[in-house]
Amino acid sequence: MSPLNKKLGRDLWRMKGQALAISAVIATGVLLLVMMSGIVTSLDQTRLAYYERNRLANVFAPVVRAPLHMLRNLAEVPGVSAVEGRVNGSALVDIKGLDLPIRAQALSVPDAGPPRLNLPDLTAGRWLARNRADEILLLNSFARAHGLEPGDTLSATMNGARRTFHIVGLVHSPEFLYTVAPGELVSDDSRFGALWMNETALAAAYDMKGAFNEALLTLSRSANETAVLNAVDRILEPYGSRGAYLVKDHTSNRFVMEEIYSMRSTSQTVPPLFMAVAAFLLYIVISRMVQAEREQIGLLKAFGYTSFEVALHYFKLILIISAGGAAMGCVLGTMAGRGMVDIYLEYYKFPLLVFRVEPASFLIGVLSSVLAASAGGFIVLRGVFTLTPAVAMRPPAPADYSRSGRIGASLSRLLDQPSRMVLRRLTRQPGRMLGSTLGIAAGMALAVAMISLFSSFEKTLDLTFNVLDRSDVTVTFTDPLSDTVIYELQRLPHVIEVEPTRSVSATLRNGVESYRGGVNGLVTQPRLNRAVDKNEDALTMPSDGIVLSKSLAGEIRAAVGDTIQVDVHEGRRPILSVPVVGITESLLGAPAYMELSALNEAMREPGRVSGAYLRIDAAEAGFVYRALKDMPSVAGVSLKEDARQAFIRVMNTGAGSMRFIMAAIAGVITFGIVYNAARIAQAERGRDLASLRVIGFTKGEASFVLLGELAVVTLMALPLGAVLGYFLTYGVAAGFSTDIYQIPVVFAPKSYGGAALAVLVAAAFSGWLVKRDVDRADIITALKTRE
């Protein structure tokens, strides 16, 4: 090995603390990049492969009741390659030991065997026997959540009739990658199920003999999607079309896509931030090193080494630190990704999800970190080229502190000598101090943004489950009913308060923008399920227009005063033109609200309700649940507490758990920056400190000069970090928000306090490490080292 490379190795060893800190910052950036892009790739590729293998439909066309022969007409639509009709009904499943009925979707499969489209995969048991009306296949995740196995029986109420079925098999299905009850947003395996039955039996149960109520279509590659949707709607129009939609609007797929989208956007914004920080750190460290090694550089040049050879020597150092960090990040990112995949499998029910990173991601990770680091290093290495050997051989002239003299003089009565040294250094080299301050402020900003994220989740939880929804139970009816059902509910013992609601599925359009969702009809002065303005004051439902959630307004670019088009997919399927009269805060989903009777009037279905919010006596909840279970018109009952718990679980163990990783990383970075700043200050002041000790200063007094500087820089960084953090929080919140849930920007004092505390702890610990070294340093050797 050449002596220069040996020097390199020993230099690295000497600065191992700093090198490791920088490598760690780079590693975390690459870790996030590799992990996130790997998850994106894995989810997306597995999704597409699974859809293709199990032939998931491209178009779903729900209809009230269409005769089977209409399928032929659908098959003739240009661009349609395959069509299948099925019965899709809602059922209530009765689980032993649970008072609450559980909602389920019942789907038909051909009596002859597995369907051609939306093919479920058997994971246990066998397929349905031909002509058996009492056999079902059950969604695997739902069965596991309730400990059900093939061979068990299950009671379910379909279309008002209660029956007992034999579970013969468990299945995965591409249309239930993410299972969520209609109208809910958070997945809960135990509270929503799906079951498959032979067509004849299910058609009989739902009065669909010779008919279907959902058509599935696959399209050829060249198909014009909009034209197909229009044609399908036209064909099914006479039979009560509920509006055909593309797979991208299918609930399960939409959730998976949102996750992928959110992960992709985070992976594009957060890792570069880490790279920038790493580049900055390397710049500081290498520039300091080149400064300290002027003589050695001059010497090498005097010996006849070319500028290029010398620069290459230092560049290798940069390369090792950055490539080492990147390699570490690749390994850790792959490991973290494997771990995250298991978490994802809890929520996204792929039969198999293998964590796969595209080789390009590794390449991008390594290249971008090396490039970022080099950018930091190159600025310094330019200095290596310009140093003439003769200049390098002379020690740098003492820094000129004369300009700062006046400041010292005016303060001399107030400050002692060491304090003045600190102050003069700060004022004499403002650029360098600003660098350190900016670095620490960046660390603080990261910490602020990450801690704010925690408050944001709490805020989402509070707004959704305490401010907006103040009910205990939500009841959904099988069909819109006459509002007399409300009195029925009110008469139930232990029901304290009932509030009717009507929700209709609809596509909201504003110009070219559209969103497939729904409209909720609320009473004029809602008390249990409310819409609130940005001050969290309840809105009175206006009778002359529609109120959009902020997220929906953003989605279709509508503002108060605009008139939007609402294509209702139910009843007479009216197309409404309604003015936007208000914007409401909502963090989950993208709801729209109208006054209940105004909505019914627009639907030309006066006095209809599709559900109700209930406040009940908690002590007698079991009684209420049993009473609800016995009402044939009830399609589903959901408890707010269950939904809340499911949300918390998702946020703590699912995708939301990413925030813990990010917070830990923010900690690593903050420490890395502060530690580096302390080490650099130590290296620059080592000789001064030794001189002070020789003159007779105590260790404590000498350290004060060094630590005082660190303290001032840290304190200056705190307010700056708070300001930077304020802006960074917006970016991070936007990155984490999806179509389905929004992360609000919350400014809780504790975010700032926590971040400031993290920085102070990091500074104190770094200061202690440095002071320990200063105390140990041999004064004589320190003085011998020529600067």
Partner: protein, 239 residues
């Protein structure tokens, strides 16, 4: 005095070096004319700031002149590009510095290797170290060596490439008399054994006693050149 018998190692005419500009300008060299014959030990003597180090830097290829010419043998140093100067230093020049300037992170052996690595026809690092009497300490780091030993490593490093000229900037400046003598002894040996021209810059007048030729510097100009007809050996020098 004509020097036709011996070829010249260095020749300068009107060599000038000015640092800074205008009123702040410092004239480090004010038109130096000089001839140094090959194979001699030459001592440049003068007070600090007299310009002797500046001269050494320029003819050593470390720095550039503001005006005038300087030749190494038949090559004009003042006309060379940076790359040519680098090659000149790489092939012909050895440097010894007052503060040794060893790489602290390399052992004695490796410090010498640093130079042999890039030289055309170097001696083995162990031979160079043996020449300065440090055969036993090749694996020690600079921090484990005394000042004199460090300077001897620096000399070994300078001579290992078999240089044509050896530049020494205050080589004994940081050493006590005994160690200083040993170092001068080594320089003398190098001069005799390798035939290298040795240029020593110093403000210590006693060192001049061992030189073939002494050039007195003052205010950036040569005040006097004396030839020693009566060279002393380093152990005869009064310290």
């Amino acid at each position: 005095m004509p020097q036709n018998a011996v070829p010249l190692a260095f020749r300068t005419t009107g060599l000038t070096k000015v640092y800074g500009e205008g009123e702040a300008a410092v004239h480090a060299l004010r038109g130096v004319d000089l001839e140094i014959p090959s194979g001699e030990i030459v001592v440049l003597l003068g007070a600090s700031g007299s310009g002797k180090s500046t001269l050494l830097n320029i003819i050593g290829g470390l720095d550039r002149a503001s005006d005038g010419t300087a030749y190494f043998e038949n090559d004009e140093l003042t006309a060379m590009s940076d790359a040519e100067l680098t090659a000149y230093r790489r092939e012909h020049v050895g440097f010894v510095f007052q503060f040794y300037n060893l790489m602290p992170s390399l052992t004695a052996y490796e410090n010498v290797e640093l130079v042999t690595e890039i030289a055309d026809d170097p001696m083995a690092p162990e031979d160079a170290l043996a020449l300065v009497g440090l055969k036993e300490r090749v694996d020690h780091f600079p921090a484990q060596l005394s000042g004199g030993e460090q300077q001897r490593v620096a000399i070994a490093r300078a001579i290992a490439k078999n240089p044509r000229v050896l530049f020494c900037d205050e080589p004994t400046g940081a050493l006590d008399s005994t160690t200083g003598r040993t170092v001068l002894e080594v320089l003398k040996e190098v001069n005799e054994k390798l035939g290298a021209t040795v240029l020593i810059v110093t403000h210590a007048a006693n060192t001049a006693a061992m030189a073939d030729r002494v050039i007195h510097f003052a205010d950036g100009a040569i005040r006097e050149v004396t030839k020693n007809t009566h060279k002393l050996t380093p152990d005869q020098i009064e310290w």
